[in-house]
């Protein structure tokens, strides 16, 4: 049996820098920060009082209120992004084989806000158990893929991947492999997260993972800068339509790019800290590039995990230098988290979208907020500081690493017949 080829034929995005793909992408290229004071709850007593929230969103413009109230925000975000991607893909509802259409979504946490509200109600109501009947179906992390399958009638493979901040990348990898194996023709993949909540911010603060630069939210996410002090929590998501190449060609679909490879690895080291020498990061890039069947020198752009934490950023860079050798200084690197913040389980989805758009438009989005060089980061690296760079982007690699030591990377290439 020969493997099928997999292409991208639709995208949708709901992010802190834009509520659709064109806005998201033009703001990334322009270097716009999505960080601002938290509006989702009263954060006055929190060590971190800013985040990268989705802005100007009235969910009822997309989903009737009666349906929306049975969805946690992370599912609402999934629906809004997927609607855009499905429209973009332009399937013919009469001819699409729904039994061979799947949904494989990623989320790191799921319905955190729903869980908080229900438990706080319990606590405030004299600990009398009066839970809403929609509590569990709203909160469980697989509800997003379930809701999407109901919405579009997709009866193929349907599940959620959970690997913390690598979740959406793992979703893309599973979707890619199932299509490659001929198990489905099309898949709505991607991921979403809605963790700008009391427990989300409080929990990451307790880990000392978040930036506390409250006096300057928009410059807080500064990957590779000497004075970086933690990541900025983001929310939202992106939907990527993966489709078997011949299926896409037969219906005359617009093809953004081809997905050519994927890698996974584990640090097997620590539950939150990355391996100090970037061992897992090295292995995951090696696996992805071998799986793609290309030479490391073919990579033009790496969208790094680069969360802006003191420990995390250098280990990924070390792994890139070790794996790519001299080519590490020819390719462009950027962390779009400098603008979007960290969408946790949704990060892999918006960053895959950024890689695909970089290939489409032949431009590398910047790593904004670079002020001071870090002696730990080799100045020969092209980290695309502060300004987007026009260049050839034939092949792009997206890295994501999650708590638990999960690493997942995907490779996209300009489509050629």
């Amino acid at each position: 049996m020969s493997f099928k080829r997999v292409v991208i034929t639709g995208m949708g995005a709901l992010t802190p820098v834009g509520n659709d793909v064109p806005t998201f992408w033009s703001n990334l290229v322009a270097g716009v920060s999505g960080a601002a004071p938290i509006t989702r709850f009263d954060a006055e007593k929190f060590r971190t009082r800013f985040a990268c929230e989705v802005k100007g969103l009235d969910v009822t413009n997309y989903i009737p209120r009666q349906e929306a109230r049975k969805m946690d925000p992370f599912t609402q975000y999934a629906v809004i992004a997927a609607d855009e991607a499905m429209k973009d893909a332009g399937f013919d509802a009469d001819t699409l084989d729904l039994d061979k259409a799947g949904v494989i979504w990623g989320s790191g946490i799921g319905g955190l806000k729903t869980f908080e509200e229900e438990v706080m109600n319990f606590s405030e109501n004299g600990r009398t158990p009066r839970f809403n009947p929609f509590f569990i179906p709203k909160m469980i992390v697989d509800s997003a893929s379930g809701v999407l399958s109901i919405r579009y009638g997709f009866r193929g493979p349907n599940f959620i991947t959970v690997s913390a901040c690598a979740s959406a990348t793992n979703a893309l990898i599973d979707a890619f492999n199932y299509i490659k194996l001929g198990l489905m023709n099309v898949c709505i993949s991607g991921g979403s997260e809605a963790a700008v909540t009391i427990a989300g911010v409080g929990g990451f603060n307790a880990l000392k993972a978040l930036s506390e630069r409250n006096d300057s939210p928009e410059t807080a996410s500064r990957p590779y800068d000497k004075d970086r002090d933690g990541f900025v929590l983001g929310e939202g998501g992106a939907a990527i339509i993966l489709e078997e190449l011949e299926h896409a060609k037969a219906r005359g679909a617009k093809i953004y790019a081809e997905m050519i490879g994927a890698g996974m690895s584990s640090d097997a080291y620590h539950i939150t800290a990355p391996h100090p020498e970037g061992l897992g990061a090295y292995i995951v890039m090696k696996n992805a590039i071998e799986n793609a069947g290309i030479k490391p020198e073919e990579i033009d752009y790496i969208n790094t995990h680069g969360t802006s934490t003191p420990i995390g950023d250098p280990q990924e860079i070390k792994a890139i230098e070790k794996f790519f050798g001299e080519h590490a200084y020819d390719l462009n690197i950027s962390s779009t988290k400098s603008m979007t913040g960290h969408l946790l389980g949704g990060a892999g989805a918006i960053e895959a979208a950024a890689c695909i758009m970089a290939i489409k438009d032949q431009v590398v989005p910047p790593t904004i907020n670079h002020f001071t060089d870090d002696p730990e980061i080799n100045p020969r690296l092209k980290l695309t500081f502060n300004k987007a760079e026009k260049r050839r982007v034939n092949v792009a690699l997206s890295n994501t690493f999650g708590f638990g030591g999960h690493n997942a990377s995907v490779v996209f290439k300009k489509y050629e017949d």
């Binding site: 009737p64 209120r65 009666q66 009066r130 809403n132 009947p133 929609f134 179906p137």
Partner: protein, 78 residues
């Protein structure tokens, strides 16, 4: 219409997203107003919260229409 009936109607309009004119005494939550079994459980809980009472399960099972809800509440709300 009694004050209780008016409050019941508002809860139903809010939770089920139906028009006020559809909320007639004969209207059945599931057959006429588009509720599923979970929506019905949620409605009962909302009545309990709104009227500060507890509706036992065996009584809740007999509340399938707007009129049945109003009648039960008018009898039991103190």
């Amino acid at each position: 219409m009694s004050a209780i009936a008016e409050r019941v109607k508002q809860i139903i309009v809010e939770k089920l997203g139906v028009e006020e004119s559809e909320v007639t005494p004969e209207a059945n939550f599931q057959n006429d107003l588009g509720a599923d079994s979970l929506d019905t459980v949620e409605l009962i809980m909302e009545f309990e919260k709104e009227f500060n009472l507890s509706i036992p399960d065996d009584q809740a099972e007999n509340i399938g229409t707007v009129g049945q809800a109003v009648a039960y509440l008018e009898e039991n709300v103190k």
